[in-house]
């Protein structure tokens, strides 16, 4: 189980996260929705210490970590138990798809190279990219790059994977295949927190949906509760704006 309590974060004078608390059970998929600028990315980045929060606590399994004061060792520990899928893929430019997946296995988990290669190849096959394993990121389409990013995350066998708008940077033609791979990850039973604007996808994979606005959690519930019967006015407005009318029939 992962729990974040009373997370606060500002950039200069701007309060970006105002006392956010959040809980996810093992094996659950939680999606975070919200308008642009509501603090979703910052929230994920604080969990992985890519940003340092001003206040807040993270519980991951039996470990409790102060998000403000965490030591280098604690930060490494959290990062080694989590994985991050970036909106812009974040693949290492100078490494092939296979090397991208192997890097963490070899350097961080100290798995022998042969074994790591096997695992990395299996992970790439799993996302349907066996035939692209020796390609550099610049030789791959956006959708393929993001699938490498997902393979890299899954291969590390983390306790939770954080997805930050994994399909937002993709051309529409690549969105479907990437979402399919994420659904596959969900079926594996891996705990996931996903920021997305893909509503029907969110409805399909989520155990819980969280709606954020202005740096706070406005409302949370099952996909059914949020999508068909939102309680808060702000949630209703947001959904009305983002969901085409016919989506309600899906």
């Amino acid at each position: 189980m992962i729990e974040i309590t009373h997370l606060k974060k500002s950039f200069g004078k701007q309060e970006v996260l105002k006392d956010v608390s959040f809980k996810i059970q093992k094996g659950q998929v939680v999606t975070i929705l919200g308008p642009s600028g509501s603090g979703k990315t910052t929230f994920l980045r604080c969990i992985n210490f890519l940003e340092r929060a001003e206040e807040g606590e993270l519980r991951i399994g039996d470990t409790r970590i102060n998000l403000r004061k965490a030591s280098r060792k604690e930060i490494l520990n959290v990062r080694r138990r989590t994985a991050f899928v970036f909106q812009n893929y974040g693949l290492f430019y100078h490494k092939t798809a296979l090397q991208n997946v192997m890097e963490g296995l070899v350097v961080v988990q100290k798995i022998p190279k042969d074994e790591a290669r096997k695992r990395a190849e299996a992970a790439l096959e799993w996302v349907g990219l066996s035939n692209r394993k020796d390609f550099y990121p610049s030789q791959l389409s956006g959708g393929q790059q993001q699938r490498v990013g997902i393979a890299r995350a899954v291969a590390l066998n983390p306790e939770v994977i954080l997805f930050d708008e994994p399909t937002s940077a993709l051309d529409p033609e690549w969105v479907g295949e990437t979402l399919d791979v994420i659904k596959k990850v969900a079926k594996k039973g891996i705990t996931m927190i996903i920021v997305t604007h893909e509503m029907s996808f969110a409805e399909e994979v989520s155990d819980k949906v969280v709606f954020m606005d202005g740096g706070s959690v406005v409302e949370e519930g099952t996909p059914k509760e949020i999508f068909t019967n939102p309680k808060e006015e702000r949630t209703k407005k947001f959904l009305a704006r983002i969901i085409p009318q016919d989506m309600y029939y899906i």
């Binding site: 992985n48 210490f49 890519l50 490494l76 990062r79 080694r80 989590t82 994985a83 991050f84 970036f86 812009n88 974040g90 693949l91 290492f92 430019y93 100078h94 890097e103 963490g104 350097v107 961080v108 988990q109 550099y136 610049s138 030789q139 890299r152 590390l156």
Partner: protein
Amino acid sequence: MGKYFDFERFIDTIPKIIPQLSVTFSIVLVSMIVGTVLAIAVAVLRIQRIPVLHQILGIYISFMRGTPLLVQMMVVYYGLPLLVQGLFGININTWSTIIFVDIAFILNEGAFLGEIFRSAILSIPPIQSEAGYSIGMTRLQTFTRIVLPQTIRIIIPSYGVDLIGVFQNTSLVFTIGGVLDIMGKAKTLGTATGHALEAYLVVALIFIILSLILRFLFFLINQKLQYERR
């Protein structure tokens, strides 16, 4: 004085000068290797903006880039022994001149390459480091395995230009305590025989050939390291 230029004398001079290339090469090799290490350290420390150290490094870089190398060699050659004597009470006047030359070149390279490295490191998108951190790599691992290899690919062309510059700068070292590089040898031959032109032409030819070879070499390296072939 005889003829100004004699082709036979020109040919005879070549084997007399070539052996001194080893001196030239040793200066270049030492200053590039040690200078590169120093440059990476300077670049990283500058980027971290550690108070006081940042200012000190700023002054060091301004000095190295704002004064002629010849002046820097003089300062090291005459100033360093005084400094070391004053600070540690050790007499280094007995050190061979070439060591002072090497030190001056290394310090010079640390500054010039340091700035090249600094801007190249800063041009690597932050997401590259973040991706390294996110898979659990330490800062050092992320720097050496992700940032530095990408930095090196970026700086290869400037590095080649810099290396050619260092070669040419070695023509100054004779001025300090008579170090016998190819230029120093040409000068002494000229003085001894009264015919300097042939010797200087040999030196010019060597520099031209070397810089052509180096340019070609760096062109090849650059081609080979291009992974972005879209």
